[in-house]
């Protein structure tokens, strides 16, 4: 293995750039280095002005998502050596406004997340010394969707979101589904009212890339299709029982 690798990093500073360009750096290529290590090497030793987000370096905080050679990746879980002999191209996540260099504005997701009511909704509460029983099978029903780290790789991969920023997008819907499927929750109807609008689940054309790029196997694509099925069933029910029990 050669011991250096070339890395092309997208640079953008709103104060003096009309649009992003690239800077090229050469960094050591070490077996245990991830792409994020290379960026930190650049920041510490070559160019202090490079900006990017990171924190945990263990694939769980969700802050280090970037586009590596065209594909959305968590840079702390993407090994540099997989791209040898290079060059590696690192760009900000697609489909989001770029604030600077590799930093994008994902606040849109937080608005959407809040709208899909990702919290337990119940009519009556048990006192605190009582638990809501939940069997491992019931836990298993939503567990997968609760693993989302909000890394936004799925939004970057979804062409529908790129074309139509109003689309709720994969993670927000998967998280709504996470609560819908939780045996302790009774808010499915409230969420359905919101997510079964045009920009909700129906925007998705099942491209499926969201699931492919998800580093935590959340499978948002599956969540959305299942949600469509639920919404359709509810719609049929409402048709049969116009003022019905929903």
């Amino acid at each position: 293995m050669a011991n250096r690798i070339t890395i092309e990093v997208a640079r953008y500073h709103p104060a003096h750039d009309e649009k992003p360009g690239f800077d090229t750096y050469e960094v050591p290529l070490r077996k245990e280095w991830v792409v994020l290590d290379a960026l930190n090497y650049i920041k510490d030793h070559l160019d202090g002005t490079l900006s990017f987000r990171w924190s945990c370096r263990m694939g769980v905080c969700g802050s280090c998502g970037m586009t590596v050679n065209g594909v959305p990746k968590l840079t702390c879980a993407t090994f540099l050596s997989d791209y040898a002999p290079g060059p590696v191209r690192v760009e900000p996540l697609k489909n989001f406004p770029v604030l600077r260099d590799l930093v994008v504005d994902t606040s849109d997701f937080l608005v959407k997340l809040g709208k899909s009511k990702p919290w337990i909704i119940r009519k009556v509460e048990k006192p605190l010394d009582e638990e809501y029983l939940q069997t491992p099978e019931e836990l298993d029903a939503y567990k997968q969707y609760s693993m989302c780290i909000n890394c936004m790789l799925c939004y970057a991969a979804c062409p529908v979101y790129g074309l139509d920023p109003l689309f709720s997008g994969p993670a927000a819907i998967a998280l709504a589904q996470r609560y819908n499927l939780d045996s302790r929750d009774q808010g499915a109807n409230q969420r359905l009212d919101i997510l079964s609008q045009h920009d909700g689940i129906w925007g998705c054309t099942f491209v499926g890339e969201c699931t492919q790029v998800c580093p935590k196997n959340v499978d948002p694509a599956g969540a959305i299709q299942q949600y469509k099925l639920t919404a359709t069933t509810e719609w049929l029910k409402a048709l049969v029982l116009p003022r019905g029990g929903t």
């Binding site: 009212d193 079964s196 609008q197 045009h198 129906w202 054309t205 359709t232």
Partner: protein, 117 residues
């Protein structure tokens, strides 16, 4: 409920059409579109076909085979136009064209199949 859209209905037709197209269209195209015209297999005679068509079950079958896949097309094609060509602003026009097409096709199928003596 009226806050929710009529998408579920369209989606249902789309899905049903997707299933029908996947299950049945390949063999239809293989036989009628390729094998018979190329002479690889002997084509059934018109007599046999008319005999088949007169059976109510065949008519129902053909009606389904024509109608649902058209709605499948309408739904998919609508989104392909939205996304592939990025012309979502022509939303209404597209909808009329796609679903309208499917409705016309369905009506045509019904008309043809109804009028067999």
């Amino acid at each position: 409920m009226n806050k929710r859209s009529n998408e579920p209905f369209l989606w249902m037709l789309f899905s049903a059409g997707g299933v029908i197209s996947a299950l049945l269209l390949p063999i239809h195209i293989l036989l009628f579109g390729l094998a018979f015209p190329l002479g690889c297999l002997d084509a059934p005679s018109q007599e046999k076909l008319i005999h088949l068509i007169k059976h109510p079950i065949t008519r129902l079958y053909l009606f389904t085979l024509c109608s649902l896949p058209l709605f499948h097309w309408a739904h998919r094609f609508r989104f392909t136009l939205y996304d592939g060509l990025q012309i979502k602003h022509l939303n209404e026009l597209i909808n009329v064209f796609c679903y309208g097409g499917a409705v016309v096709g369905t009506a045509l199928a019904a008309y043809l199949l109804w009028n067999i003596r």
